[in-house]
C-alpha cells in the first residue's frame, strides 16, 4: 500500500535534507525497537513500549517538524504501515457532524477551533480557564504512532502529534480524593449541527481513571501527520488512549474536571449493556451485537486478529490487575 502524500504540501517542501537525515536516524531507531527493544533515551515511547516519539518540538508550536517529514516508509513499533492521511481524515465517527463515516469530513467546516478555551476544574488545587496555547504549555510535543481500534471492529495506524495528558494533570494538581478525570466536548449546535438531533446526549462526555489518565501512553493530540488536527478529527485538541476503543478518544475538548465518582460517559449512557466506562480493547469480550475477536485494518483485505489492549498489553495490563474485564468492559 502506498502512503499518499498530503496534497497541500508542495513536493519541494516535503523532504528538506535536514529532515531527511532525521528520518534516517528515526528509521534506525524504529528498527532498534523491532530488533528487540533497544531503546535510546529519546525514545520515550520505546521505553514505555507501544507508541514512540520522533523529533520533539516545542509545546508552543502547533505544527511539528514532522509536518515537513516524508512519512513514506514510516511504520509503527510493530512494523505496521500508517493509514493514509486521506483515510484518517475522511472516515470518522464524530456524531456532532452526522452519523455517517464521511459526514464529519463533509460537515465539520462549521467548527471554529480558534480561539478556543479549556476549563480545568473540579477537585484540583489549580483550576483555571486557559486559552489553547496556554493550556498546552506544560506539554512536550511529539509525534506518536498508535493503533486506533474502533468498537465497530475496524482499525487504523495513526501518527498523532501531541503531549502526555499527565503534563497538564500535574499542573492542575488534583486533590488526593480525586479519582477520575472527566472531559467534555464543545456543545454548540451552530458549530456542531449534528447536536440538533438527539442521537446522543450532548455534550459528549468521556473520562478516565486518574491512573489511566497519567499513563505515559495517554496523550492529548493537537495534530495528525505532524499537522494541525483537521476539524473532523477533533480540532483543536482531543484525547487519544490507544489501548481503548476509539470512542474514549473525546474530540474538541472544552473542559477537564477532576472528580471522585466515575464519569458517566455518553456511550455508556446511550446503551450501558453495550458500552462501558473502561472500553478496553479485548478480543475475548464481545460487543453484544458483534464480535471483537477480529478487526478490519483499513487498507487490508482479510480481517486480522484483535490484540488484547490493542497490542499495548505489556504497558497497561497492570492497571487492571485483579479486575474482571467481562464485568468492567
Amino acid at each position: 500500500m502506498l502512503i499518499r502524500k498530503p496534497d497541500d504540501i508542495p513536493s519541494s517542501e516535503i523532504t528538506p535534507e535536514r529532515v531527511y537525515i532525521n528520518r534516517r536516524e528515526f528509521i534506525g531507531k524504529t528498527a532498534g525497537i523491532a530488533l528487540g527493544g533497544a531503546t535510546g533515551g529519546a525514545l520515550i515511547g520505546g521505553a514505555v513500549g507501544g507508541g514512540f516519539m520522533v523529533g520533539p518540538g516545542t509545546a508552543a508550536a502547533q505544527t511539528s517538524p514532522g509536518g515537513q517529514r516524508d512519512w513514506s516508509g514510516v511504520v509503527s513499533e510493530m512494523g505496521e504501515e500508517l493509514t493514509p492521511y486521506e483515510d484518517v481524515t475522511s472516515y470518522n465517527n464524530f456524531y456532532e457532524f452526522g452519523t455517517q463515516k464521511d459526514d464529519p469530513f463533509k460537515n465539520a467546516h462549521t467548527l471554529q477551533p480558534r480561539p478556543w478555551t479549556i476549563e480545568v476544574g473540579g477537585m484540583c488545587a489549580n483550576p483555571g480557564v486557559y486559552g489553547l496555547e496556554d493550556f498546552i504549555k506544560p506539554g512536550t510535543m511529539e509525534d506518536r504512532i498508535y493503533r486506533m481500534r474502533c468498537v465497530e471492529a475496524w482499525s487504523m495506524v495513526i501518527p498523532w502529534y501531541g503531549f502526555a495528558l499527565k503534563d497538564v494533570i500535574d499542573r492542575a494538581a488534583p486533590l488526593g480524593s480525586a479519582r477520575y478525570v472527566e472531559f467534555k466536548t464543545l456543545h454548540d449546535p451552530v458549530q456542531m449541527p449534528g447536536q440538533r438531533s438527539r442521537v446522543l446526549y450532548w455534550p459528549y462526555v468521556e473520562g478516565l481513571r486518574l491512573d489511566e489518565a497519567r499513563h505515559p501512553l495517554t496523550i492529548l493530540a493537537t495534530g495528525v501527520y505532524g499537522r494541525d488536527l483537521p476539524n473532523q478529527n477533533g480540532a483543536p485538541i482531543r484525547l487519544v488512549v490507544p489501548w481503548k476503543y476509539g470512542f474514549k478518544g473525546i474530540k474538541s475538548i472544552v473542559s477537564m474536571t477532576f472528580m471522585e465518582q466515575e464519569p458517566y460517559n455518553s456511550w455508556k449512557r446511550a446503551a450501558a449493556s453495550e458500552y462501558g466506562f473502561y472500553a478496553n480493547v479485548n478480543p475475548a469480550v464481545n460487543h453484544p451485537r458483534w464480535s471483537q475477536a477480529r478487526e478490519r485494518r483499513l487498507g487490508e483485505f482479510r480481517r486480522r486478529e484483535t490484540l488484547l489492549f490493542n497490542g499495548y498489553v505489556d504497558q497497561v495490563a497492570s492497571l487492571y490487575a485483579g479486575m474482571d474485564l467481562r464485568v468492567y468492559y
Partner: protein, 192 residues
C-alpha cells in the same frame, strides 16, 4: 398499451441496474472511501431493502391510481431485490468474512441481526424460484399464499437493519414506517 408496458419494463431494468453500475463505477475509479468492503456491503443492503419495499408498494399504488399496467412489474422488481440481497449475502460471506465458516456460523448463532437477515434471505429463495409463469399455474391458489412470505421476509429485513444501528435509528424508522403503511393498506383492502 403494449408500448407502455415495454417502456415501464425498460425503466425497471435501468433503475434496477443503476445501483450496480454506480457501485462498479465507484469501485473502478477508487471512490468507495476508506473502507470499501463495508461501503459495498451497506449499499447492497440498502438497495435490497429499497427494492423489497418498492415491490410491496406496486399493488397499493396500482389500486390507488388504477394503473393496472404496473402489475407485471412486481416480478422484475422482486427479482432485482433478490439479486441485490444475494449479492449482499455473498459479499458478507466471501469478501467481508473471507468464507471463514467458524466466524460466519458464530455470527448467525450469536447475533440476532444476522439471524434475521439470513432467515429473510432463505425465505425469499422459494419465492424467487417460483416466480415464473409455469409455477404460478402449477401452484394455483397456493402461489398467492406462498408469496405472502415476502411480508415476513421484508419485516425481518427491517428488523435486521434496526438491530445493527448503534444510535441513529432514523433510516430504520423510515423503513419501518413505510412497511407498516403498506401492510395496513393491504389489511384494509382484504377486509373491504
Amino acid at each position: 398499451m403494449k408500448r407502455r408496458r415495454l417502456l415501464l419494463k425498460g425503466l425497471v431494468w435501468v433503475l434496477g441496474l443503476a445501483p450496480l453500475v454506480w457501485l462498479l463505477w465507484r469501485g473502478f475509479t477508487d471512490r468507495l472511501g476508506a473502507n470499501p468492503i463495508e461501503e459495498v456491503l451497506h449499499r447492497l443492503g440498502d438497495t435490497a431493502l429499497i427494492a423489497l419495499l418498492v415491490t410491496l408498494s406496486i399493488t397499493p399504488i396500482r389500486r390507488l391510481t388504477g394503473w393496472n399496467s404496473l402489475a407485471p412489474l412486481r416480478r422484475p422488481v422482486g427479482l432485482f431485490a433478490f439479486f441485490y440481497l444475494t449479492m449482499h449475502f455473498l459479499w458478507y460471506s466471501v469478501v467481508d468474512q473471507t468464507l471463514d465458516l467458524a466466524f460466519i456460523i458464530e455470527d448467525i448463532v450469536e447475533r440476532p441481526y444476522i439471524l434475521a437477515g439470513v432467515t429473510a434471505w432463505l425465505l425469499l429463495i422459494p419465492l424467487a424460484v417460483t416466480s415464473t409463469k409455469g409455477w404460478i399455474r402449477r401452484l394455483k391458489k397456493n402461489w398467492k399464499r406462498l408469496h405472502r412470505l415476502v411480508y415476513v421476509a421484508t419485516s425481518l429485513g427491517v428488523l435486521h437493519f434496526y438491530w445493527q444501528v448503534k444510535a441513529d435509528t432514523y433510516w430504520p424508522l423510515v423503513a419501518t414506517t413505510v412497511l407498516v403503511v403498506l401492510m395496513l393498506l393491504r389489511f384494509r383492502w382484504r377486509r373491504a
